[in-house]
Symmetry: C2
Subunit: 399 residues, 2 copies
């Protein structure tokens, strides 16, 4: 099906995760995405686990393949191929990069230069702290942004060390923020004809993810800290051990608390003065939670879930990744892990976009390119280079 | 400055976080967002902490205010005001809701009905598991989606219970995914004239955030588990105690490892056969990390950072939320917490969007509405109702 971004050409100079994930989503939505890599070397993530073997027994990165599907691939040395690069930039609508700020400027290829050759260019970049401010020159990594943004200070158990979220949430949110910026800039460009510079910081995105936790401090001056799985303002709720594992339950609303006292075999708690209101249950949660956990510990996780879910409780087991992939809802009904027949490594499953639309939405449109796979196609059709010229560029190591 | 979404009208029926955060971002980008709430009651989050006092001493929710800035507010009872609702839907471009799937259908106001009166309507919804599949009727909560999506299985310490990410990442990512879907659908509608249904699941978004962790399983069958702050495939790196706290450091690349042995006062480790390559350092990390931590423990966190940052290391202190807000980069240079003079609670800081654009990008355009604040304005200007008719609707409790 034709994508919503059909007719838009994107030059993806991204590396590893944040930039490439944005460009992959644009490609999934039908944009023509050209991934530009250093000749002979490519995106560092071509060396990142997980690997699968190709038919000759070489390791091929499925990390790279996941974040670079729905793209074509070319090589170009940015130092020796500057003229070629500028010719290419003239033909694209969007450029995505996640170099350390200043890298493109040092190459003489910063936004101010590029907009001279293409005033309609939408230049989107992602970095650890954004391209303004005193930290702008620092390298960006998901874990560092989880630390600097405060996410680690609110994740984990009160008595333990701070811990990072196991998901690469700053990287992923950075890619989503840039995607939104690009779509908004494309819309504006239709009115103005002008492109613009979009500047995303992984750390800013971490702050946005904290949401109400930050607002607590902004409104009250009270600093939120890590609190395990407990809700700070409702009880009972949070994580409980079961006979064979762990689960999360929310039983704090009056309706659910009223049901829960019967389910856990303590109807007398409904009248217990310590637990009459949510505020009292929060205050006395150390005395309350053992009642709940005595019940959950008497059952398997599955039995807890099977008891509570049909009654409308919010509750969940802690799925492991293999269970997520096999899950009838996530893996099957929502098709979150479609299989692609990759020309190098054969049938492999990748992570689908979570944006489910009737028409024009994201789908994996082609497997990730091998290094320079589309050099002939792109340089001949888009820039009109002759086979001889392309061969010359190749021999000189420019592409 | 005019926003990129100027001229687009959005009806926000969202509650609490995921839906309202999407609509607020659309409003920040210049869309006319009309928040529709139940008369006399409003969005549940009007009762959520943090609270500030208004001049009469009443509690007013800054949770609500943060996620409902850049909107106008009206009230409408969806049962008694169905006709009014349909007249309103005819005039809007986008509808956002995050009810439990089926709620709007039960009211006779599902997408299939609404598109009959407005074929161009872009109907965006967010729910715990999406509107398809066997789990579609279950309630959606950030914590439950962190559990079902596998995020909790990869967050925390190997020897501890699984723990949720302290940020509401599934809610926030859900809002960002819907924003992207809406922008893509608006683009497509310009070609086709048709609206469409966009269906976002909080749990699917959690899966997307896991990124390469899921790909590890898909490509190799190996299930990733929680691993604290360690990188699984590089060393030294992760979290280390300091004299007064904790920090994260990445010293695994050859260049940084070579520097680090000198910095920590153990140049002999450069030649140590246990640590010659990254693979060996990963294998022998239990013997390696004590050398690093002996050094970090001899210094304050600030001293560690001041030593490593100028040499180009990726490293970070664990900022607490108050430190994030005061931080010269995040709070100051990036303006992530702008102050709004709120008519009810006075000057208050809110969380800015992380999308920094030259032109037409997000900015907080007005404070959140009081319940029904714009009833007269919206019902008279958009639907052309007379003051008498509006008064009648009010007296009947329809608005």
């Amino acid at each position: 099906m034709a994508g919503a971004l059909e007719g838009i050409r994107v030059l993806d100079m991204g590396r590893v995760l944040a930039g490439p994930s944005c460009a992959a989503l644009l490609g999934d939505m039908g944009a023509e995405v050209i991934k530009l890599e250093q000749p002979g070397r490519g995106d560092d993530s071509r060396g990142f686990a997980p690997m699968k073997k190709d038919k000759d027994g070489n390791n091929v990165s499925c990390y790279y393949k996941n974040f670079n599907r729905s793209k074509k691939g070319i090589t170009l040395d940015l130092k020796t191929g500057k003229e070629v690069f500028l010719e290419l930039v003239k033909t694209v609508d969007v450029l995505v990069e996640n170099f350390r700020p200043g890298t493109m400027d040092k190459l003489g290829l910063g936004y101010e230069e590029l907009k001279k050759v293409n005033p309609g260019l939408i230049y989107g970049c992602i970095s650890g702290f954004g391209s303004t401010g005193p930290y702008r020159n620092r390298a960006g990594y998901d874990t560092m942004s989880q630390a600097w943004s405060g996410i680690m200070s609110i994740t984990g158990w009160p008595e333990d060390d701070p811990v990072r979220c196991g998901a690469s949430l700053c990287d992923v949110i950075g890619g989503l923020h840039l995607t939104i910026g690009i779509l908004a800039a494309l819309r504006l460009r239709e009115k103005t004809g002008r492109g613009q510079f979009i500047d995303i910081s992984l750390t800013d995105g971490g702050v946005v993810a904290e949401a109400s936790m930050v607002e607590v401090y902004l409104a009250t001056g009270k600093v939120p800290y890590k609190n395990g799985n407990r809700y700070t303002s409702s009880a009972p709720g949070g994580g409980y051990h079961t006979k064979d594992g762990y689960c999360v339950i929310n039983g704090s609303a009056p309706k659910f608390w009223a049901m829960l006292v019967d389910i856990i075999g303590h109807p007398e708690l409904a009248e217990d003065p310590r637990f009459l209101t949510n505020a009292l249950r929060v205050k006395n949660r150390e005395e309350l939670d053992p009642y709940v956990e005595a019940w959950t510990m008497s059952l398997t996780t599955q039995e807890v879930i099977d008891t509570l879910l049909p009654k409308g409780f919010a509750c969940a087991p802690i799925l492991t990744i293999d269970q997520v992939v096999a899950n009838e809802q996530i893996g099957v009904a929502r098709n979150m892990f479609p299989e692609i027949d990759d020309p190098e490594v054969g049938p492999t499953r990748f992570i689908n976009s979570a944006i489910k639309m009737e028409e024009g939405g994201p789908e994996i449109r082609c497997p990730a390119p091998t290094l320079g796979q589309h050099n002939d196609e792109i340089y001949s059709t888009i820039l009109g280079y002759s086979p001889e010229k392309i061969q010359e560029l190749r021999e000189k190591g420019i592409i």
